[in-house]
């Protein structure tokens, strides 16, 4: 990705106060902005306290456990966004395309998973061994389905437009997004559908000084962390991973070095789709309901996360996903869910003003 502003002379001629502000506030301002919400509500909890109900009685607490609970929920929710965000970041890093259909590939992951549960006969009553085997198989199949789907979309809608004007693939991406939404609409209908709560996701696993951790939180983290480690290993240690990084840096030079650029781009789409498939399974188990339109909102949030972390950077996408998850959870819980979208996008604008490269953007493009 080229530098944001080409020369110093242009920079000086335009919006000088803003640049002055940016150079002095920069990353620290962004970190301060990100800490603002948790610190504010932490101090509020300590000074004003918060109420909750214990055995039907209203009890006022003056501690940080509610904040801790919000953050745990935020991190686990953010783990899902992180998995989707990686897909955006991989694709953007290599071909600089905002893959609008990615959110809907994630929806397809949820739908495939839920249908597979039906096919395997998994219900809330299934024993632990069967459940683990069934879910592992579902995860693998869902990842393969979504990876192939993303691959197919790339082949049909983006590859023919490789040399076209830059905005043309954006429109085919939107077109495929509509097609996938319609597929989802025909598949499960237009209403939000509840699905079997296979793992009893709201069950408390353990409790550290008043912060309860539920099964769903464990699940989200346990799926996300190994996948991200595996992806990081793949991208940084294997030959195809190196090819991806090379293509992201300079497609033309990579081609001259004998890298098959088309295959590499397909690989990036495949990997992104697979992670979206995994996220789809986790989402279905976490939220216990699915909707053909879920990918739209999730896609926007995950895209925000990818940008916040520094688009083109895998670690950045994970960090961005987790942060957005926390912001979203705090906003849902404290400000009101109807304002969450405005809060999340407000943060996005703040990032763009203070640090357009994103949090980890100054590192060279990892996987693009």
């Amino acid at each position: 990705m080229s530098a944001i502003s080409p020369t110093a002379s242009v920079r000086r001629s335009a919006a000088r106060p803003l640049d002055y502000l940016r150079s002095h506030i920069g990353a620290w301002g962004l970190i301060a902005a990100l800490l603002a919400l948790p610190v504010y509500y932490g101090v509020r909890d300590l000074t004003h306290g918060y109420t909750n109900f214990v055995n039907g009685h209203e009890v006022v607490h003056h501690d940080l456990s509610l904040l801790g609970f919000n953050l745990v929920e935020g991190l686990s929710n953010g783990a899902i966004w992180a998995l989707i965000a990686i897909g955006y970041t991989l694709v953007y890093g290599i071909i600089e395309l905002i893959n609008f259909a990615h959110g809907d590939v994630f929806t397809m992951g949820s739908f495939t998973s839920v249908s597979l549960w039906g096919a395997f006969g998994l219900t809330a009553a299934t024993g632990p061994l069967g459940l683990i085997l069934g879910l592992a198989l579902t995860l693998v199949i869902s990842m393969l389905v979504c990876g192939s789907l993303n691959l197919l979309i790339e082949r049909v809608a983006y590859r023919p437009l490789r040399n076209a004007p830059k905005l043309a693939p954006l429109i085919t991406a939107i077109g495929f997004s509509f097609i996938l939404q319609n597929t989802g609409l025909l598949w499960k209908g237009g209403e939000e559908t509840g699905v079997a709560d296979l793992i009893d996701q709201g069950d408390k696993v353990f409790n550290i000084s008043g912060v309860t951790v539920h099964r769903a939180d464990i699940l989200a983290i346990c799926v996300m962390v190994p996948l991200v480690i595996a992806l990081n290993w793949f991208v940084s240690r294997t030959a195809p991973g190196r090819a991806m990084r090379a293509t992201a840096q300079d497609p033309e030079a990579a081609r001259l070095m004998g890298i098959n650029v088309d295959h590499t781009i397909s690989l990036a789409f495949m990997l992104g789709g697979m992670l979206a498939g995994a996220a789809g399974l986790v989402y279905a188990m976490y939220e216990t309901n699915i909707w053909y339109f879920q990918g739209f909102q999730a896609g926007l949030i995950a895209f925000t996360a990818a940008v916040m972390g520094g688009i083109g950077n895998i670690r950045g996408a994970v960090l961005g996903g987790l942060l957005i998850g926390c912001v979203q959870q705090l906003s849902d819980f404290r400000i009101g869910p109807e304002w969450t979208e405005a809060v999340v996008f407000g943060y996005l604008i703040l990032v763009m003003i203070l640090r357009p490269r994103g949090l980890l953007g100054e590192e060279t493009r990892e996987a693009g």
């Binding site: 002379s9 437009l161 043309a168 077109g175 509509f178 097609i179 319609n182 926007l300 925000t304």
Partner: protein, 402 residues
């Protein structure tokens, strides 16, 4: 795919070779004749249909989208600033008519040349005054949204504008809980502001809800003015500055083009067009409902501009007509009944968005530069030289790569 494109290109060239050149008093080109015929056709069109016809209804909406698309084309096509939050200006335009042309502010009693009864509650301004208000509000909004994007590059602009569009959408939904004092709220949220004043022009009388024709001519006049303005701006000093910035920001700035002012003017003018269309659409729909201001609207208008041909005025017009007819007439009214005509018991209603998406993919894969690409871009892609500057042929022939 490329064989197909080459074939299409060949047919096009063969047909064009047979068309005789236009006489000199037309500037040697037929485009003005075609434009004049198009205008005459547009003026005559409603007289072939009844005044309540569904097709004319769809046409009114389509022409309003033409105005929208022309506005977005100023920002995305001329100035090259990818705007994914255009819905914000639709919202501001529509709320202008909601705020200043209905009984929404129940404490106020303002009536300026409107069709409302004297002394009616609410603010009631004449339709033209509402348009002026909308232009002012949306221009300011456009500049405010543009400010943080000044230092950003292509896709980052898209992200910031997208974020602004979504935030304004959220405010529209939640505005019913934002108190302005005295029990007044900012918006009516998803309930919508309804019973908007119908346009009223002294001497012409008040518009009706059932008779579509006056609405048709109103939006047609607006569209003609906007098309004219768009063409004149494109060819003006400002328009050339936009195109220069789009092509190479560094070179343009070092040639003395004021970056901040030029970019902000693009946002302001694009926003103003969107606001004008927003006022009309809000009034025509007779409701200003927060549910209308979704991200998909921005995407819809952007698709019109790109399908039509980025940066091309007539491309935007045709793209807007094509996609909105597809969405508001062809798919719901024509295609849905098609299976029944062939005796199939099958309903296409559930497939609407899928068909729309499929058509978008097909159009873009077959014609990535858009249906009617801008002349400058067409020449750039094919290495053609403008007829009025044959001497440029030498210079460009070597450097142009398709």
């Amino acid at each position: 795919m490329s064989e197909l494109q080459a074939q299409l290109q060949e047919w096009r060239d063969r047909i064009l070779a047979r068309v005789p050149g236009a006489p000199a008093w037309l500037g040697g080109r037929w485009s003005r004749v075609i434009a004049a015929c198009g205008m005459a056709f547009a003026i005559a069109l409603p007289f072939f249909f009844s005044s309540t016809n569904g097709f004319i209804n769809a046409t009114v909406v389509s022409i309003a989208y033409v105005v929208m698309a022309l506005g977005l084309n100023v920002v995305v096509g001329f100035a090259g600033l990818l705007d994914l939050g255009y819905v914000a200006f639709y919202a501001f335009g529509a709320y202008s008519v909601g705020w200043f042309g209905s009984g929404f502010f129940f404490d106020a009693h303002v009536n300026v040349l409107s069709s409302a009864a004297p002394g009616a509650i609410g603010v009631h301004l004449n339709f033209v005054l509402i348009l002026v208000c909308a232009v002012i509000i949306t221009s300011i909004a456009g500049v405010l949204i543009g400010l943080p994007t000044l230092r950003l590059r292509g896709d980052y602009i898209a992200i910031v504008t997208l974020a602004f569009g979504e935030i304004i959408g959220t405010f529209a939904v939640n505005g019913q809980n934002i108190q302005l004092g005295g029990g007044e709220t900012l918006t009516a949220g998803n309930l919508g502001i309804s019973a908007l004043d119908l346009p009223y022009f002294p001497g012409l009388g008040k518009f009706g809800l059932l008779n579509v024709r006056p609405w048709y001519f109103l939006i047609l006049v607006i569209a003609f003015i906007v098309i004219f303005v768009a063409i004149r701006i494109r060819d003006s000093r400002l328009g050339r500055a936009w195109i220069a910035l789009r092509e190479d920001e560094v070179a343009a700035v070092s040639m003395g083009i004021p970056l901040v002012r030029t970019k902000l003017l693009a946002y302001a003018i694009g926003a103003a067009f969107g606001g004008i269309s927003g006022v009309f659409l809000g009034d025509f729909d007779q409701t200003v409902n927060a549910g209308q201001f979704q991200f998909s609207f921005s995407v819809f208008v952007l698709a019109m501009v790109i399908v039509g041909g980025l940066g091309s005025v007539w491309g935007s017009v045709m793209g807007a007509l094509l996609l909105s007819y597809m969405n508001y007439y062809l798919i719901p009214d024509v295609l849905n009944s098609l299976p029944h005509t062939f005796g199939l018991n099958f309903d296409l209603t559930d497939l609407n968005i899928g068909i729309f998406g499929f058509l978008l993919v097909i159009v873009m894969v077959l014609r990535p530069q858009g249906l009617f690409p801008e002349r400058r871009r067409r020449m750039e892609l094919s290495g053609e030289v403008a007829p009025e500057h044959p001497e440029l042929g030498e210079a460009t022939a070597g450097g142009v790569t398709a």
